[in-house]
Amino acid sequence: MTADETPTTADEATPVVIKIGGASAVDPAGALADVAHLSANGRPVAVVHGGSTAVDETLEALGEEPTYVETPGGVVGRFTDETAMEAFTMAMAGTVNTDLVESLQNEGVDAVGLSGLDGKLLAGKRKSAVRVLEDGKKKIKRGDHSGTIESVNADLLKTLLAGGYVPVVGGPILGAESDGDYTAVNADADRAAAAVAGALGADLVVLTDVAGVYADPEDASTLIESATTEAAFEAIEDAAAGFMTKKVMAAKEALESGASSIVVADANANDPVLTALDGAGTTIT
């Protein structure tokens, strides 16, 4: 190294994984400008996106209705039958991923869009059967296209990052059937982001439509700024209500699989990623 070169600190070299939601309430523009800023400064960045709103819109445009089912435990979830899976692939791998790559290219970022199938980037067992409660009866409903991520091809991501590219990762993932065949399946995008961040040892920024995790969701002054101990994390787990539960679960998975830190922060803030990395939102380490 010559005297002219700025030394790279460990912190600068840590990749950043940014989870962008699929909800229409969130405009990704601020986040994408931050991706450009980080990337221009030599920080490896990957984006993981959801897209459930786009899937719903695509289903509606196709004249189909999403199917919701209730689990015996009372949780209402989406059932992804073959038609819904086709719409999911069109919307996620087609519309949402391509639009994000287009927007990033317009920000000067050399983005490369990937689904979980590409290079087996995100793979896991397909879950075809689910237990549901239908008319008060417990049933097994088959034909679901979902799966849980069990492996991440970190080499593919690292190869692209080393080439100066920004991977943009979304569903579907590669679902392994019991006979060994693969099928494209749906997976939770927060957990996908967690898996990617874990595989890269990255700082994960989960952008959402609130400022972070609140001790009392009704009281904005109770934002939990950070959790660095087991006890503090348990307090967050207790506090996380509704859809935040999934984000906190994903944060736990990310840390357990090797992520450096997780911040849950507001996508609609100015410079949402930069401020999140600088302490805004709820930071979990």
Binding site: K138, I140, S146, G171
Partner: protein, 54 residues
Amino acid sequence: MTTCPECGADVTLHDDLEAGEIVDCTTCGVELEVIETAPPVLDRAPELEEDWGE
């Protein structure tokens, strides 16, 4: 009326049985999935986590 594939005991089935429905064997307690309805065929119901996609 049919037989529990786990313990061999008789399992009483109600009339409006549907494929996919889960019934409990009152003898051994195992959960049984209705594979077919006419005539009824039962198999041990798969264990499945509650885990939902995006």
